[in-house]
Symmetry: C2
Subunit: 145 residues, 2 copies
């Protein structure tokens, strides 16, 4: 590294570092909320992924959680023990088990979602203009424009 290499990080790099920092901080909030509902992080993700409307096979949940099928067994076991989700053999292929949310699960899911969807302090206190700008750039980043 040369003496005068100010080596300014690219704007994307700095933005990424700041975003990473925000997520690290927000993880605490996530854990705290999950804890309030007595749910582990994967359990939260599972509950959020399962829609009230259509049943989904275990394998799809594994895909969404990006973990092995064998893990889903335990995660769903614990959710089922608490009456939040249900397993039912699929009609078309009895190897497949479809997951549905129970009424109680839907209620928990709704309250949970309300808490988690709330933007964290650092974003919430941005000016409305900055919020819109951030949203628009993120839309473009993820190809939602």
């Amino acid at each position: 590294m040369g003496a005068s290499t100010t080596r300014q990080a690219s704007p994307a790099s700095e933005a990424w570092a700041l975003m990473f920092e925000l997520m690290h901080v927000s993880k605490q909030r996530f854990m705290a909320i999950a804890s309030e509902f007595d749910l582990s992080p994967p359990q939260v993700m599972a509950l959020r992924h399962l829609d009230t409307a259509e049943p989904k096979p275990m394998s799809e949940l594994a895909l969404a959680l990006r973990c092995d099928n064998s893990n889903v067994t335990g995660i769903v076991d614990r959710l089922e023990d608490r009456g939040l989700v249900e397993r039912r053999a699929a009609a078309h292929d009895r190897r497949v088990k479809m997951l549905t949310i129970t009424e109680r699960g839907a209620e928990v899911r709704a309250r949970l979602g309300a808490r988690l969807d709330e933007p964290p302090e650092p974003l919430a206190r941005l000016s409305l203009e900055d919020q819109r700008t951030l949203r628009d750039v993120m839309r473009r980043a993820l190809g939602r424009d």
Copy 2:
């Protein structure tokens, strides 16, 4: 909910959802990189937190990782076993153990950092103008302006 309640999410809410999505996707990349170096996520965070320059007590690492002191013992154990960090009793208070990075640890840390600091695809492909905008808004969000 009224029939005509379009109930548009606030800009911050949508930005937050998009950011959360980006982080969820980026987590895979993080795990893959950690895996390349044979490090678990907390081990990565620990290595990144420990500066080459000044030694830091275990308790500070626990604070940075936002976990209990007792966990740090195991995490540091495994890093020490691999010769990446070292424990030394502090001179001023022999209860305290100071952590330093070894030469080999520093080398791993540098290569690891180079990979992790690279912004993920969705951010990298933004226009330079969008990158700057994103950086500036994030700075304001985190009070770095």
